[in-house]
Symmetry: C2
Subunit: 349 residues, 2 copies
């Protein structure tokens, strides 16, 4: 046991991200990356970037990106805070709002990072179960004295389910603390809580370019909130948290609306096909609004299916939630990848 | 007053980095950036980077960089933790070691970010004055029960002074907690504490590519520590804190040892020339081991000099330390920039 680190750090296991094999050739459907390459405008922005500029520090406010994102989202640019991926945004919010021993809340089963963020901060956490229909009851909005932050992934992972924005607003209004609506997958729904931020100071919406913009490797995310919140959160971020190349590439990406619309259409079509074909193989699937499908099989253990696929060169995400159960979260792949996946599954089930 | 953020955040002013004008044309000698462009190998790595790869997450361990850095530094690669700039490294260490209400220590005058990191964490801080010769007495190593982390910039900013590694080791051994030796400028000294890390678990050495590698815009830094420390700190970092392009570019940079040696020689030569010429203008200067010079003038206020230079299109860093005084920190520039600076100063003083 390391005697120098805080006890909360020493005793935690640490977040384990989905497998990222760096060399072996897998069909990789385990971390909800986009199956297609990013906008050609991104490649162009990187190609045109002059490395000589790197000798200077980047713009600490990432103004060029904020202007472009503000225009796309219909909010002023001082309602936007940029981050080194939306993980950075979630970290900044946790550090700004939650003191040691105070409490955070998130639904379960959902994104497992929220618990890790609470553990790093030395905070307590409360997991509110989704209802059987993947909705949330009023208990998610209930007031507890030391509750300082609530996280709500929408669409949710692993289920891919969606809570209507008006219901999210109701929950935000009930809560005694800020609510971060984690919209990592929202571009795939065609809907968002961004337009509700102006109606409730407590509502914060985080977005990422990792999924719908196919830029997981770039690390770029952002938060939309009222300026009174953004100004406080800016104190907590590292001054230069976004580098020059990623600001240039992310700006190019968000300006290419046509690419986004086409990519979302392709991914959604493939998701529907994936869900149908999994159903035909006897899987129980949850209707998804994201770029992945959550499924279980009435006769096969998800662990055995995960391992069977891995042996055949296909990575999907096996997830197990204490007191709830396990399942497979399968990311949308290219048509060819999905054909291989389904063929392999047909052998195993 | 925002009622949702922690009181320590609400009451803090927030770190103010050196001015980074994004459009106006200044001769910029205020944030210790390298006056020369980075290695051509960096430009090549960026040019050869395929944007299609960005659809995947980066390697969370940045193994390619760690292997290259381990080879350069003569330590095993599991002694290295990569960060999104060394600010990220300093943040990770603060979060891992220091609980709310616990204490950190740093010398003064030194890097003003350390205090900000303590404030964000809700920690207390203790500033130990440098002696008149810019050495540190044994009080810097004294044991206090709730002291959880000490920071020591070496070379120091703003003074550019250097404490011999053996003295740093003595201080580390006295301290009850880890000591981060912040070696942002160490490449300009030709010396380092890295080789002492194996002799003391408490000694951690942070490095950045922002200064000697001319890559401030890239955001890449790293920490050298014993594996028992690195493993704990890895739990606190964001999983994907370094993006793919910066890993590729940073790896290319650290492999180009010839470029580094030449750049350091050029910068050190220019620093000596800058110091000499400032002396001739009547400035009191502190002999520097970094890429900047700290100076005061017996008859002119540093504030007036800073403003006079800014009016003339030259940015230097005006710094004022409570209970200690003020001065100018002037970064090494190109020969042409230094000529303009000295000509302007000759007009003002």
């Amino acid at each position: 046991m390391n005697r120098y680190v805080r006890p909360n750090i020493a005793k935690m296991a640490g977040y384990v991200p989905g497998e990222q094999p760096q060399h072996a050739k897998f069909i990789k459907l385990n971390t909800n990356e986009n199956p297609f390459p990013p906008s050609p405008k991104v490649a162009e922005a990187i190609r045109q970037f002059s490395a000589e500029r790197l000798t200077r520090y980047p713009d600490p406010t990432a103004a060029s990106f904020r202007t472009a994102a503000a225009d796309r989202l219909g909010v002023p640019s001082d309602w936007i805070l940029c981050g080194n991926g939306s993980d950075d945004i979630l970290t900044i919010c946790t550090r700004a709002f939650v003191g040691e021993g105070e409490r955070v809340r998130f639904p379960t089963p959902s994104y497992i990072l929220y618990r890790t963020l609470a553990e790093i901060q030395g905070a307590r956490w409360e997991a509110v179960p989704f209802r059987a229909d993947w909705g949330l009851g009023d208990d998610f909005g209930s007031s507890v004295g030391d509750l300082k932050l609530a996280y709500l992934p929408n669409p949710n992972s692993p289920s891919g389910t969606w809570i209507e924005p008006n219901r999210v607003l109701e929950l935000a209004e009930m809560l005694p603390c800020p609510l971060i609506v984690d919209e990592a997958y929202a571009d795939f729904t065609g809907d968002s809580c961004v337009s509700l931020v102006s109606r409730c100071e407590k509502m914060l919406v985080s977005r990422t370019l990792s999924k719908s913009y196919a830029l997981a490797g770039l690390r770029f995310g952002f938060l939309v909130g009222q300026p009174s919140m953004i100004a406080e959160l800016a104190k907590v971020k590292d001054s230069y948290n976004c580098d020059m190349i990623s600001i240039a590439a992310a700006t190019a990406a968000i300006l290419d609306r046509e690419w986004l619309a086409e990519n979302v259409t392709r991914v959604v079509t493939l998701r529907e096909s994936l869900a149908d074909r999994l159903s035909h193989l006897g899987f129980d699937i949850v209707p998804s609004r994201a770029n992945f499908v959550w499924c279980t099989h009435p006769e096969r253990s998800p662990r055995a299916l995960y391992e069977g696929l891995k042996e055949r060169g296909i990575l999907v995400r096996y997830m197990e939630y204490e007191g709830w159960g396990a399942g497979l979260r399968i990311s949308v792949g290219t048509p060819e990848q999905q054909d291989v996946l389904l063929a392999m599954l047909a052998e195993i089930v």
